[in-house]
Point group: C2
Chain length 228, copies 2
């Protein structure tokens, strides 16, 4: 397996590239439009064939790079769960995608948005949690169909059923941490280690500011970041 | 092996924590004073016993966190190569340190500064190159005993003799990339893939600005970041 974690500073977004080391078939998770040139260079330098550009959800804090990558790499297909967003492939709970002999599996993990998915790669003992589960945190639930009770259930009935040693790769971190583990988050996540009632109360009282990029990001991310 | 890569945004510095998963004995490479609390929390959450706080060199762009970590974690020893810097242990070319059953080996890789080391962990197929080798770049050579010819030789006669699949973990990246490989840097590094003469010419004509934190960082880093 070839694996790269990449960071976009303005929105503190992590982008991930995974590839089969033999066939060079690759996927990218949550690319950002501002860093498409960097990601395209990494893909080319490593000799990868990008099959899928996947968004874990319709992001409110940055514009996706999936549309630009599709323009640069013929044959690459965009993938999302949200039925309201345009993409080549709409996936649902339990769906799988292959790249070479490697495989990822999608878990529907709504609560931050209705269309949020987490992506499990068992051969890498890893889960890419998007904004559902962050390191010692989670995505906010005060816009875009956010629902704290639903998010709590998504994490506890799906994400937290994975083995404790599975690595958690989130879509963001604001403290410079690059990954965590299921065991750590079950034990130390200051929100999700609480009861459902306590979690809902925490999430309903965060009083967060209006997201800086939301008015630009939401309409763009419904069409892979680029208008046709 | 337990492994964590951590990022400090202001100076774009990577800090690394490595530990033996069984004994929990750990080392930290290039901690930053502003993120010591974060790193200390990671160390505690993972139940690690920090044996060594290592600096790859006397940094000019941030103040080390090694002294503060020593204050917080009794028994932790500071490690550096530079004979002018204060530390519990001064290491030299070929020296090794153990944490649990894991081992790291030091390569003297001067050129950015005289006291620069790179740290090889064969069991993780990884090298921590400090500022000697960066992803598609290298440390500047225009202050602090910088010498481009010496840096070129350090990389070509030592770092680049490792297998192509060894992972390169640098002390900084300014583009959001988290790692590279020896094979990639041999092939694609725009400076170090050139001849020695071309490299020296490139390095002598970078015309870089005066480092923002150097006047604060250099004296502090000669005493592990904290005055006694």
């Amino acid at each position: 397996m070839i694996f790269r974690q990449l960071f976009e500073k303005t929105s503190s977004t992590y982008t991930y590239i995974l590839a089969d080391a033999n066939t060079k078939d690759a996927i990218i998770i949550d690319p950002v439009i501002e860093t498409v040139d960097r990601d395209f260079k990494v893909i080319n330098d490593l000799g990868l064939k990008l099959k899928y550009a996947i968004n874990t959800h319709v992001h409110a804090d940055h514009v996706t790079g999936s549309g630009l990558l599709k323009q640069k790499i013929p044959g690459c297909k965009s993938v999302i769960c949200d039925p309201n967003a345009k993409a080549d492939i709409h996936i649902n709970e339990g769906d799988k995608l292959n790249f070479g002999i490697k495989k990822i599996e999608f878990l529907s993990t709504p609560g931050h948005t209705n269309g949020c998915v987490s992506i499990v790669c068992h051969s890498a003992k890893s889960i890419f949690t998007g904004d559902a589960l962050l390191i010692r945190g989670c995505g906010r639930t005060d816009f875009q169909q956010g629902n704290p009770g639903l998010l709590y259930d998504s994490i506890h009935t799906k994400v937290f059923t994975l083995p404790n040693d599975y690595i958690v790769f989130p879509a963001h971190d604001y403290t410079g941490q690059t990954n965590s583990s299921i065991g750590e988050e079950k034990k130390y996540n200051p929100r999700l280690s609480k009861s459902k009632e306590e979690f809902i109360q925490i999430m309903n009282n965060l009083n967060l500011p209006y997201p800086a990029q939301i008015d630009r990001a939401l309409p763009a991310n419904l069409v892979c970041g680029v208008q046709e």
